[in-house]
Subunit: 222 residues, 2 copies
DNA sequence: GTCTATATCCTGATAGAC
DNA sequence: GTCTATCAGGATATAGAC
């Protein structure tokens, strides 16, 4: 049986996933967790610290998995394949909680952070900075012809598509009239990896290349 | 000089863009708008109705522009090019408010809606349903080989990347150390169109095709 | 460590004078 | 239409008995 602290973390995670962080009052968490109304402040000190604890508990393991997968690609002689690389980022957050009753909630949590600026700043450096750095380095190796600017832009765009799919599973299932089956995790991962990899590795448009070249009408060397 | 109603709408739009809808109390809007604290309820009736008015004012024109661009593609004999099609969706929200001092705020507003479920339901049908329907129909014509399921999944992923770029301009500029210049709207549009079009039109992976094929080793008809 | 009770603040919304 | 004053409810956080 989980102790009070875990009960609170579990309840908070489910509720944050489903309704968003800002929309969940502490009262609702203590009710769901069936603990005393003062327990959150006793164990965590404040809502902000509780939020951080929820994310650390979940994203610690996810990002360790990501880093393991990225390390395998780093130590290879060959530059990584772009799909492998995307897979290393995409698969871990989709697979958390798999098999448990509330797995879809955990996945939905995964995308909440970026969309809540107040908590984003609070957490990003501790939890995501290293993954981002390593992913970017490998991406540069996988796509050596892309200028830094273009690669970085596309990294954000790919991230955006991943976050959207993680976060909006309910919306996707509903707005597609059930056509998109968000419950099949492995299929979702493949589709997303395919999409991201294609976008990341698209040949540059001529006018796109222009925009990062040091010189213009004369010619470009970058 | 704008009247009270417009002052409120302007202030609300800026604040919603910057901080998110849920995070902005009405008191802050009236302070920013320099109007009386009862003015919002007098003119709009409730916060919910104010939010709706803000989005209608901004997305009415944007979606009319989108529909105009989509109509041009609908009436063409040829199936539309995938980049043209993406451009019709992407360009209007990026171009709103262009040249005004707070143009980046308007663009940021554009992405707020989807991330605030409470207001999303309220507004989507009125403002976005028709654009979505027409875009999807043209997408099916532009990518006739993609099964409905794959096309729909990819439409969500492409939407996610667009929303992320619209919403997180500050984050993108900051996290890239200025490498990504979010102030150049036309460049941003091209990069985004390129990324989305490449993702949408990627050839299906073999295992991705399997997942939507009507028959498998045994065969399924649903 | 747990609980009840409550302090303090802030929210959206309203009443009623002008 | 505009303003001041205020309500009722709900938020985070804390005090103090057990």
């Amino acid at each position: 049986m989980p102790d009070t602290k875990d009960q609170i973390l579990d309840a908070a995670e489910c509720l944050f996933s489903e309704y968003g962080i800002g929309a969940v009052p502490l009262r609702r968490i203590v009710a769901e967790a069936k603990v005393n109304s003062a327990a959150i402040h006793y164990h965590f000190g404040s809502k902000e610290k509780l939020v951080k604890a929820v994310f650390v508990r979940r994203y610690g393991p996810i990002n360790r998995q990501r880093i393991e997968l990225l390390e395998a690609l780093e130590s290879a002689e060959q530059p990584p394949g772009i799909e492998q690389l995307c897979h290393a980022i995409v698969a871990p957050p989709f697979r958390i909680g798999e098999g448990t009753a509330s797995e879809h909630l955990y996945r939905s949590l995964a995308g909440r952070l970026m969309t809540e600026p107040a908590y984003m700043e609070l957490i990003f450096n501790d939890l995501f900075a290293e993954v981002d750095r390593r992913f970017d380095a490998l991406l540069a190796k996988a796509l050596p012809d892309l200028p830094d600017t273009v690669r970085t832009w596309r990294k954000f765009m790919a991230t955006g598509s991943m976050i959207f799919v993680l976060r909006e599973q309910n919306l996707i299932a509903r707005a597609s009239n059930g056509l998109c089956d968000t419950s099949d995790v492995e299929v979702t991962i493949r589709r997303l990896v395919r999409f991201m990899a294609a976008g990341l590795s698209a040949p540059m448009a001529d006018d796109e290349a222009d925009l990062v070249a040091p010189a213009r009408s004369g010619g470009r060397n970058a």
